[in-house]
Symmetry: C2
Subunit: 207 residues, 2 copies
């Protein structure tokens, strides 16, 4: 539907808001009108926070995670185990794993996963710098914590091949039935894997 | 959950995005990361469109609709019937009615409806300026097109009392079963009203 806006300024703002993923034109109009109801300072703070983020954001030169300094707070934390590197797709996964409070190693953020459909090949990802970190001999184990999808598996395999020449342990996060899930409703592939990769009962109660 | 962000800039941007109505913190993070994936120009255009909207928006001095000039394009259109004024809550309703292509009169945007729960009284709305427009004797009919809610009915009644001294027609948009709806599923109040306010069959086929 070719909606007619009473103002070009409103139409431009709606166009920009609707360009965000998951925001349709109706929502965009609602958001624009919300900004008009708030004072000017609100929109000024809103715009300046986004501009600062985009202009001043840095990426950690060790793990490539988003940060405010040259090296991120995780990589520069002396209590973290630098010999244990968890490979993740993006900053969202770093935050998710940090929230578990279970991991005391460091990260390596690839910036995506291999996905030929989206035009993302190994060259677009921070795989070379992972190999460099491993070659520098500080790393003892690399944990691959990518999505359990075809693309994730492809990327896992690619990294595995690149790291195979080095004398380190390469592991993959456990895949199985989610905690709190009923066996009855687990999909066959997950359930099958969880039986193949079963752990000793003594190990499982340690968590 | 007290999410820990790897960057203060990211956290600020997420806070601002999450302050929008209907946007949670997970969505806000997704939107912030989307901006980081796009080039800087994208965020600059985005921010400047919102700032321009908030700083430079004007309200029509006749009907109070959002516009770019002193008088909006509808009020200044010589083909519109200035004797027919449709009273609406907000710019969204103007856009919805304009989209029908059925209305050739002009509007009066109240800027809300009377809602004591939200602290909105008649003094917060553009009711006085509606009375002035009617008193200026150009108006022959006022159509009340507010929401069919308790607040809408209250506002309708308030405006009706204010305009009663003037020799004009005051009408309310028809309320009845939506076109395409099945009678079986219409609620009782709507169905009851649609029988009480039935129109002659000859009138109904004109549309």
């Amino acid at each position: 539907m070719n909606q007619k806006y009473p103002s070009v300024l409103l139409e431009n703002a709606v166009n920009e808001l609707a360009s965000l993923p998951g925001v349709g034109r109706k929502t965009a109009l609602r958001l624009a009108l919300y900004m008009l109801r708030r004072d000017t300072g609100y929109t000024e703070n809103f715009a300046s926070a986004l501009l600062s983020l985009r202009r001043d954001i840095k990426y950690c030169k060790v793990c490539h995670n988003i940060c405010d300094q040259e090296v991120c707070s995780i990589c520069s934390d002396p209590r973290r185990d630098r010999s244990l590197v968890c490979v993740v797709e993006n900053v969202k996964e770093v935050m998710a794993i940090e929230n578990t409070g279970q991991f005391r190693g460091v990260y390596h953020v690839l910036g995506g996963i291999i996905s030929p459909m989206d035009g993302i090949g190994p060259g677009n990802l921070k795989i070379d710098s992972l190999v460099e970190r491993v070659a520098a001999e500080e790393v003892k184990e690399v944990i691959l914590a990518l999505s359990t999808t075809m693309e994730g598996d492809t990327t896992n395999f690619f990294i595995y091949r690149k790291l195979a020449p080095y004398a380190i342990r390469i592991s993959v996060i456990a895949r199985g039935v989610s905690i709190g899930d009923e066996i009855e409703y687990a999909d066959e592939i997950t359930l099958g894997r969880s039986i193949l990769n079963r752990t000793s009962f003594n190990d499982s109660i340690k968590i």
